[in-house]
């Protein structure tokens, strides 16, 4: 048995950094805070790589088995239902460790340059440490409750970091929106957990996802609306994942979340947190695949739909971060779809492997794109494409790295995106031709909108900028490192490392699909080049001819408005307001009525105590007379 005891420090270090800098906030120098945070995540990164090398390459056995590196009882719900906090080492968690720690470390370094001079510099790094801790804890979770705990914590750090510029109303609103939307999705997750724990009596992944476990081999619970209870539970769990991963219809928070500092968008809203949903589905994949295939179909459908939907919106956006945000949504849709079409074990599990692979490569190139965008924004102080153009001369390092990332996301060989996307398309092709068609189209759209962005920013019209300069080394070095990853991560033999059941298999290179996908990507690139490389009005003309379609896409299919209508108009104004009114006027009114009736009755009764002595005498005497008569009637003599 290998010893992974040291992995506990991957969690402890960032948390200690968070606590230390958080409690002493205001007492420490901001630069010291940053140093502590970077040191913590740096060591954690080293340990993560160590764990990955040990797990994947120093492993003697044929297959990869899950190892619980640490575990202690955190909370006891009943004699049998115990919640542990522990560390689970298995292929996907180790893979995620590498992704998270690398990107997080890069973002930490990048941020020292990007956030320089910001008021909340120390606070920013404190929260970054919290996020790193939470995200690493999430992927290392051994059970559902642990994952939920860290799930919420990443949500919190996301909230805090989106709201970093808390003096800006739009940032505050975006943070609130992100938290509440994901919270609503988490409601489904929580109910799903409750259902699973009710049927299995455990939260532990090793029990739940055991292919020979009772959950999978036996049919449990009744059926509801034609689907088994387990399927519903798994759909609800996916609902949580969909919220975090911004799948339709919960995608609305992600574009708004771009209000946060750009490195945050790179780390949280591109590379790590938003793929937590994918990770969750992958974590529970055994159950999905073997016991709840209907739920998997739902996932595939939503993934495919979202990837197309988001890609369409991305085409029309003008804010560079928003384009990248929709691109992220679209790419995560890819991953979800791949999971959804995947089978279990062996080559049938290609979708799973491809999804994880894409998650891996996507983390590099999307983080790179965001950091590059951050570098651009740092230089021109604007998010809007219309304020940019011809930047390739001014920002050479940014330009080159950005181009690498753009090529990677478009699926041009030999960059990493090509390999992972190719596997996804192959998996889709093997399973469902319709999904393949959709994803194929999306691949073209992706290439188009990414190059539209690229050309608009780095080519296009020449502009003059006031004291523009390339970003400092603290920002460009992470760019180069990530660019290296984005370029060459595709050569990793992923199917030998990450599979559904831990047993490696060989993938075949699908030449036809590869050629076809490169072809459509190139088509997209050429169209983009034709429209945007030189300044021209052709694009506006096309937009005008598309008319209402263009408007609808530009307005993001009015999903935000629908949400706003439901929440503001229906829930707040209609339900909440009427309940508040009901409480004040009916319930409380009833209580007041009781009180007032008593008072009124006492006023009435008070008349008997009038203080009018004549009346008293009269009543008294009448009473005496009646009493006498009664007495005489009953006791005559």
């Amino acid at each position: 048995m290998e010893n992974y005891q040291y992995t506990i420090w991957i969690l402890i270090l960032p948390f200690a950094a968070f606590l230390f800098t958080g409690i002493l906030s205001g007492k420490l120098k901001p630069s010291l805070t940053a140093t502590i945070s970077i040191g913590a995540i740096g060591i954690a990164t080293a340990l993560s790589y160590l764990a990955a090398i040990q797990y994947f390459f120093l492993n003697a056995s044929e297959s990869y088995t899950a190892v619980e590196a640490a575990s202690f009882t955190w909370y006891r719900l009943s004699d049998t239902l115990v919640i542990d906090m522990g560390i689970l080492i298995d292929p996907i968690s180790v893979m995620m460790l590498v992704v998270i720690s690398t990107v997080s470390f890069m973002v930490h370094i990048y941020s020292t340059g990007y956030m320089k001079g910001d008021d909340g510099y120390a606070r920013y790094f404190t929260f970054l440490s919290l996020f790193s801790f939470a995200m690493l804890g999430l992927v290392l979770a051994t059970n559902l409750i642990q994952i939920y705990v860290f799930w919420e914590l990443v949500g919190l750090s996301s909230y805090l970091l989106i709201g970093h510029y808390y003096q800006k109303p739009s940032a505050v609103a975006a943070a609130k929106k992100a938290f509440i939307v994901t919270r609503f999705a988490d409601l489904g997750f929580l109910i799903g957990i409750l259902m699973l724990s009710y049927y299995t009596g455990t939260f532990s992944f090793s029990d739940i996802t055991n292919p020979d476990g009772p959950l999978i081999t036996q049919t449990i619970g009744g059926t509801f609306l034609g689907l088994s209870t387990l399927t519903w539970a798994m759909i609800l769990v996916f609902m949580g994942g969909a919220g975090k991963s911004a799948m339709f219809p919960f995608h609305i928070w992600l574009p708004d979340a771009m209000e946060g500092p750009t490195p945050i968008s790179a780390l949280i809203h591109a590379a790590t947190m938003v793929v937590a949903g994918v990770y969750l589905v992958a974590r529970m994949f055994t159950v999905y695949s073997l016991a709840a295939p209907e739920a998997l179909e739902v996932i595939a459908f939503i993934g495919a739909f979202t990837s197309l939907f988001a890609a369409l919106i991305a085409i029309t956006q003008t804010d560079i971060k928003k384009i990248l945000a929709y691109s992220t949504i679209s790419q995560i849709g890819y991953m979800m779809m791949a999971l959804g079409v995947s089978g279990y074990s062996g080559e049938a599990g290609l979708g799973f492997t491809a999804s994880m692979f894409h998650l891996f490569t996507h983390a590099f190139f999307k983080a790179l794109l965001f950091l590059g965008a951050g570098s651009i924004i740092h230089a021109v102080h604007s998010n809007e494409m219309k304020d940019m153009g011809g930047l390739r001369k001014h920002l050479p390092a940014t330009h080159i790295t950005f181009l690498i990332a753009t090529l990677a996301i478009s699926g041009i060989p030999p960059f990493s995106g090509f390999f992972s996307k190719d596997e996804i398309l192959a998996a889709a092709y093997a399973s469902n031709k319709l999904y393949f068609a959709v994803e194929y189209l999306v691949a073209g759209l992706t290439a188009f909108y990414m190059f539209r962005l690229y050309f608009n920013v780095f080519w296009g019209k020449k502009r003059t900028y006031e004291n523009i300069h390339e970003s400092p080394a603290s920002m460009t070095i992470p760019l180069w490192i990530l660019a290296f990853g984005a370029a060459f991560a595709g050569f990793l033999p992923f199917s030998h490392l990450v599979t559904t059941d831990g047993i490696p298999f060989d993938t075949h290179f699908h030449l036809t699909i590869a050629i076809a996908s490169v072809a459509i990507a190139l088509t997209g690139i050429f169209i983009a080049a034709a429209l945007y490389r030189k300044e021209s009005t052709r694009s506006q003309k096309i937009a005008a001819t598309l008319g209402v379609f263009y408007t609808v896409t530009k307005e993001k299919f009015y999903v935000d408005e629908i949400y706003l209508f439901i929440t503001k108009k229906i829930i707040f104004n209609l339900i909440s307001k009427s309940i508040a009114w009901f409480d004040r006027h009916i319930v409380d009114g009833f209580m007041n009525l009781t009180g007032n009736t008593t008072v009124a009755a006492s006023f009435r009764i008070r008349k008997f105590q009038s203080g009018n002595i004549h009346q008293y005498a009269l009543v008294f005497l009448t009473g005496v007379l009646i009493a006498t008569l009664v007495y005489l009637y009953y006791y005559p003599k």
């Binding site: 909370y75 719900l77 239902l81 808390y166 409601l187 009710y198 707040f572 309940i579 209580m591 009180g595």
Partner: protein
Amino acid sequence: MYNLNILLLVPILTLAGIMFVKDARNARVVAAIGMSVQLVLVFVLLYMYLAERNAGNMEEVLFYQDITWYESLKISYTIGVDGIAVGLIVLTGIVIFAGVFASWLMKDLVKEFFFWLILLATGVFGFFISLDLFIMFVFFELAVIPMYLLIGIWGTGPKEYSAMKLTLMLMGASAILLVGILGIYFNSAPDGGAMTFNIIEISKVNIPIAAQRFFFPMVFIGFGVISALFPFHTWSPDGHASAPTAVSMLHAGVLMKLGGYGVLKVAIYLLPEAAGEMATFFLIFVAIGVIYGALSAVMQRDLKYINAYSSVSHVGLILFGLLMLTKTALDGAVLQMISHGLITALFFALIGMIYGRTHTRMVNEMRGLMKVMPFLSVAYVIAGLASLGLPGLSGFVAELAIFVGAFSHPEPFYRVITVIAVSSIVVAAVYILRVVAKMLMEGVKDESYNDLTDARWHEKLSVISLLLFIAAIGLAPLWLSDMIMSSLEPIIMRLN
């Protein structure tokens, strides 16, 4: 061996000290010293309790004392604690400690204020240690009645109205409760023999089912009203809004828990069969209250009203957990009592401190407080996060246990109602983040706010003492839940 009487003795000595100080300003010092001593004693109790349990003492209650007080009616001064009571005593100790420091700057009638405040706390401590129904009732009233004066004299807004409403509703409930308690007393010897008020004694007999059916609703509603049971919750928003800071803290933090504790130890423990039969009926009201309170909070503008309605919702979860009658849910309910006590006390303390500076409690009149008073704002955010059930803070563990316990009930109806109750956590996120966003974030709206100061030392002490325990329970819930769980054993035995 720990003598529980000391928990009453210290507050009483403090009361005497307050009465005899010359300078009214020194009353707060006396109160602070007294309550600090009390806090230490409370922790000594906790330590001694855990030590006894670890030493293998599995008595149902520890530190038991029984002094006959009124022979012919079998009323005796019976005291003793189990894990549940210890948890709630710790809560009370912390909240009253924080409350004294939160009202450090009280100006009018200082002596009288602290006198009534400590008297109220005395009643609460007495309530939690007593094992005799009659004595328990006496302490219950002792805790409720000072509230009238505290709100009526030191309150704000329509204080007389609120104080009267609160007192009348609670007194009305007490009247029902008294009937229920007497009903239990007169049925405490179904096979002949001596009737008794002693809870431990009564728990050994089976009260006839007809009597249980008759008296369970009385005891439940009697205790339920102080826990803001829908539809008898309307005293809570008005009362909290009018009450001075420390009183709101104590009331929402501790007094509302008396109801939950009473329901558990009297209604469920002594009348288990009726509890089993009628739980479904009351559960409907409780579940309505949970959602209803949360939705009402969304539309409120006054911070205290928001919090009061949120308390209706969260305390509703306590009753919800209790009525589920499963061990996990009961455990969660008790944890929720402690957790909500701390969180809501923190909320009211912060609201009081913010109000003391801005002189308004209207959310939309404030903006950008984060910039001017970072300490209070951060504490407010943490309180909010704890309240919406963020893991790592106490609210989460309590709510999780309630939901898991409720969901593990075999009846499908219970699971449906649990799902409804769970959805309140989303609404909680909405109303809490709304306040955080509107009040704390963005730029300062009113120029004069720039001159406001952050928390002073006594305010920090008050806030930190509460925050510390919220985090402690949230991060390491095991010892507390085990302590409660082992004490739930006799109740579970009775329920089966």
